[in-house]
Amino acid sequence: MAQPIIDPKETLQQILTIVNYQGDKQAFITKYLALCEQNTLLALLENLSEEERTAFEEKLDAAATPEEKKNVLREQFSEEDIAESSYNETKKSFGEMMQKLLPTLDKNQQEELKQYFESSAKALQDKLQLSNE
């Protein structure tokens, strides 16, 4: 399994630290990423027609083990579909979170968050360049 370029968990951890999140950071991160994944899967299901969904469910019924079910899932949805759904769903939820969070931050926190995003984006660009060389 390919590893993400930059670990989303680490990124969320940094963001929560900058904004001085007072709760259980790990619990928040786990719940948020599970939500992103659930929404991705839901978006994929929503894109199926009723006939396609029925056929998909029949294949799942025929799959006896979790591994077989995973294979059905992999066969049903292409990497492109998954990547697109994942991108759209995460962008939507994270964007909403940012919009609501920003007004609650003081100027220092906003600046620190902005700097973190910028340095992270730069690091991401560097990694992408390296991987393309």
Binding site: M1, A2, Q3, P4, I6, D7, P8, T11, L16, V19, Q22, G23, F28, K31, L33, C36, E37, Q38, N39, T40, L41, F56, E57, L60, D61, P66, K69, K70, R74, E79, E80, I82, A83, S86, Y87, N88, E89, T90, K91, F94, G95, E96, M97, M98, K100, L101, L102, T104, L105, Q109, L113, K114, F117, E118, A121, L124, Q125, L128, S131, N132
Partner: protein, 112 residues
């Protein structure tokens, strides 16, 4: 004779904290997702357990195709993502983070 009655309205403004807002937003999004899930209860019942098992990330493998669907925000942030060996969730997350930069930049610009 005119009698004036003064009405005092006391507004109680709840102070929003980052922690409160993050928790409320996550809770709201979770509820919305559960409601959405209800429409696919049959399908969902059959794939229960797979969603949290990393199958999405596994299925995405090394292919990064989201780059082909670059959002305006990505361009605005000046980040060109072309190809890389990363999981789709990682890229999606980073796209979202970059979107966050865009939102911050827009907000700062508007405040000036």
């Amino acid at each position: 004779m005119i009698t004036e009655t003064a009405t005092h309205i006391t507004e109680t403004k709840e102070v929003s904290t980052p922690t409160g807002v993050l928790n409320d937003t996550l809770e709201g999004q979770t509820k919305a997702s559960e409601k959405r899930k209800g429409f696919f209860s049959t399908s969902w019942g059959k794939i229960a357990g797979l969603a949290g098992a990393g199958v999405i990330i596994e299925s995405a493998g090394a292919g990064i195709r989201a780059a082909g669907h670059s959002h305006d925000a990505l361009h605005a942030a000046g980040v060109a993502i072309t190809d890389a060996g990363a999981g789709a969730l990682g890229l999606a997350f980073w796209s979202a983070v970059i979107y966050g930069i865009y939102k911050l930049a827009t907000k700062n610009k508007n405040n000036k």
